[in-house]
């Protein structure tokens, strides 16, 4: 744990150098949220906690997905392609630490961003509910690590950097566009649950109307995602796949 903490400190120092990085993931959803709800905000509408969390879900889901993809997976990928992982693997001694450290650091950053987002929404809709903040902490905690996990197979693919940029853009777009997709056909439903935004939607649904089957389903998918992430983390190549470094 000491080593992971040391690496997190290292990543944080790097992040502090580029403070805009703190708002990259949150600025566009915030603008979109403001634009979409401008009429209601200006009408001084008050929404109850349940309505507000449903309103916020796609945005929070996007923030989590964006951070997991851009700040964790693509950052680790970029470090591998630059040779950073290869050299520091021997200093750190375990390859999964090189992934785990940014993943944990960005969990906290995602949490701060989502809480900030929620606070602004609460102010805009005149509903300062501590319960909503607690719910957001819980939801982010439940979905963040499975989201990182299900995106981790990208690290196993022999993809060159320009292709990776295109693929990650496609993954983000597809995940967001299929956010509200539902089906009763079980195999397809299992498949759609691998989409982190749909998982988020299901988690929110279960927070608002909890059922044992619902939670069993969500926890099962979350565990599968985390196992996939762990396997990718421990087996990811640390030598660049696209060039000699």
């Amino acid at each position: 744990m000491k080593k992971i903490r040391a690496l997190m400190k290292f990543d944080l120092e790097e992040m502090l150098d580029n403070r805009l990085a703190f708002v990259y993931a949150v600025i566009f959803p915030l603008l979109f949220f403001a634009m979409s709800n401008w009429k209601n905000i200006m009408a001084q509408q008050t929404d109850n906690t349940e309505k507000l969390i449903i309103l916020l879900t796609p945005y929070l889901s996007y923030v989590v997905l964006s951070n997991a993809l851009n700040s964790v997976i693509l950052m680790v990928y970029g470090r591998r392609e630059s040779g950073f992982l290869k050299m520091y693997y021997f200093i750190v001694e375990r390859r999964n630490y090189l992934m785990l450290a940014p993943e944990i650091l960005f969990y906290f950053i995602t949490l701060i961003e989502c809480l900030g987002f929620t606070l602004l929404a609460m102010v805009a809709f005149h509903n300062l509910s501590p319960l909503l903040l607690l719910e957001v902490v819980f939801i982010i905690t439940v979905i963040y690590f499975p989201t990182c996990g299900i995106l981790s197979p990208l690290l196993l693919m022999p993809i060159k950097p320009p292709s990776m940029t295109a693929i990650s853009g496609g993954v983000l777009l597809l995940a967001v566009l299929t956010y509200s997709y539902t089906t009763s056909f079980l195999p397809l439903r299992v498949l759609t649950m691998l989409n982190p935004t749909i998982l988020t939607s299901d988690v929110v649904g279960n927070v608002l109307a909890p059922t044992l089957a619902g939670w069993g389903w969500v926890v099962g998918v979350g565990v599968v995602d985390c196992v996939i992430g762990y396997l990718c983390m421990t087996h990811m190549p640390i030598i660049s796949k696209s060039q000699r470094v």
């Binding site: 080593k3 040391a6 790097e14 630059s82 040779g83 050299m87 021997f90 200093i91 001694e93």
Partner: protein
């Protein structure tokens, strides 16, 4: 001592790097792998460090990652880090395994102190290399691999780096790669010359010079490549 025996390696669908590479390193002094650009010096480091498996032959012993330090040619580092951040992270990641001796202390005072508050992106190539190699030398390991540690350095800094490596070689295995035979003059080191997919010479610097062009390291390099004969 590390023994590389009959190693063959070809990159998937690409060029053959080694057909029958055999050499052994020596303890107590530096080992230098010399060869032309693209001869596969970094590839043999990847194999010795266990990152890449040879397609034939053996490397013995194959140490665990915890026993190895591997400096790469490009010395990658996060650009916003200061010299102090970098030394701190090396220390924090390896608690209780720091080396200290007079030579390291002298290099710290003369070369590293001035870099402590400077960001990595603002350092020159030579300063970056010196700082990272110094930081690596402070860690205790059984095997140190340095890929072109003196590349792009002025002669004084290059001599300083070789001094660090030589100091390290008294207690651990040190292998480094290079092209420049000039640098090896008056440096106690075991030379392993690789060309045409195998080892064409191993021995000390004086033996290499005596075998080819006694007074001219560049001509020795050229002659050795021309002669291309295995001498154990």
């Amino acid at each position: 001592m590390i023994k590389v025996e009959h190693v063959s390696f070809t990159y998937a669908g690409k060029k053959t790097v080694y057909t029958d590479l055999s050499f052994s390193t020596v303890d107590g002094r530096m080992n230098c792998i010399i060869g032309k650009n693209g001869v596969g010096k970094s590839t043999i480091f990847d194999m010795i460090s266990g990152l890449v498996d040879p397609q034939a032959g053996t490397i013995d012993p194959l140490l665990s990652s915890a026993e190895i330090i591997y400096q790469m040619q490009g010395v990658p580092m996060l650009p916003a880090m200061t010299g102090q951040n970098i030394l701190d992270i090396f220390r924090d990641l390896n608690p209780g395994t720091q080396r200290t001796d007079e030579f390291l202390t002298a290099v710290y005072q003369e070369n590293v102190v001035a870099l402590l508050n400077e960001k990595y992106r603002d350092m020159s190539g030579g300063e970056r290399r010196l700082l990272i190699i110094y930081a690596m030398c402070t860690l205790k390991r059984a095997l140190y691999l340095f890929d072109e540690p003196t590349s792009g350095l002025d002669p004084i800094s290059a001599r300083k780096i070789l001094g660090l490596l030589s100091d390290l070689a008294t207690c651990s295995q040190v292998i480094f790669t290079g092209h420049n035979l000039f640098e090896l003059q008056n440096v106690p080191c075991h030379v392993i010359f690789i060309a045409n997919q195998h080892c064409i010479f191993q021995g000390n610097y004086e033996e290499l010079m005596a075998r080819y062009s006694e007074n001219d390291p560049v001509q020795t390099f050229v002659d050795a490549l021309k002669a291309d004969q295995i001498v154990s």
